[in-house]
Symmetry: C2
Subunit: 116 residues, 2 copies
DNA sequence: TTGTTATTCAACCCTTTGCTTGATCAACTA
DNA sequence: TAGTTGATCAAGCAAAGGGTTGAATAACAA
């Protein structure tokens, strides 16, 4: 609990990155293809510097990568990183569904006992 | 951009709630069944008040619900809420995969042209 | 009633976030 | 070369997050 393992830190940053509507809109935009900082900033009422920081948060979380095209630094979505998040969530969703199935079978056996 | 729609606010809180390792461990514990605040606090080196706050964050995010049993307030995982998060993520993952498929078919047609 | 257990409220502290503006850097264009 | 465009750095500020301790509340047990 003193220090956090690297996998945990990655999840921290990734979930934190998605906990902001501006950053989620950026992800949404990037799902339709790469874009530059200026293009990404255009729809928002905040400064380009603020958007640049949001992109750095997404990059540090491993959710996007960047390339270079002259002065531009196009941003690309990394879909594999999103997959890691659904994997984490689904781990606990599945356990929960298994419990439902166990409950179902328990109820099933109770019913058959009652009906015998 | 001035005001956020309710669905966005829910996603904010849910992703934010999962961006903390203590809260993720609480989710993990709850996936094995309901637990009281004291039970949930036991593994951690922080005060019960701090854990109580974490649980309130999870509750406000709609990820857990609470019942009553005398002085105890058992916490239950709400798996449906987790599903809403994977749904959001998968929305963009799928778009991305469709683009890959489009690229694949493009490359395929180029190859067949070359091979003809 | 008195005491104990389970949980929350309240006030406070420190660190981090998200934003701003102004300056700087890097790479193109005239 | 000088000017412009694209993006980042830096300093500062208000608000929020996660933690603490001590007091309060609620429901049970003696």
């Amino acid at each position: 609990m003193i220090d956090e393992n690297p996998a945990d830190a990655r999840l921290d940053r990734a979930f934190m990155a998605l906990a902001d509507p501006v950053r989620r809109e950026i992800i949404a935009r990037l799902s339709r293809g790469p874009a530059t900082v200026n293009e990404l900033a255009e729809p928002f009422d905040i400064s380009k510097q603020a958007v640049s920081k949001h992109i750095q948060v997404l990059e540090h979380a491993g959710l996007v990568t960047r390339s270079r095209d002259a002065q531009r630094r196009p941003v690309h979505l990394d879909a594999a990183a999103l997959e890691a998040l659904t994997a984490w969530i689904d781990g606990y969703r599945l356990i929960h569904e298994q419990q439902f199935r166990r409950l179902d079978s328990l109820l099933g056996s109770l019913t058959s006992t009652t009906e015998s």
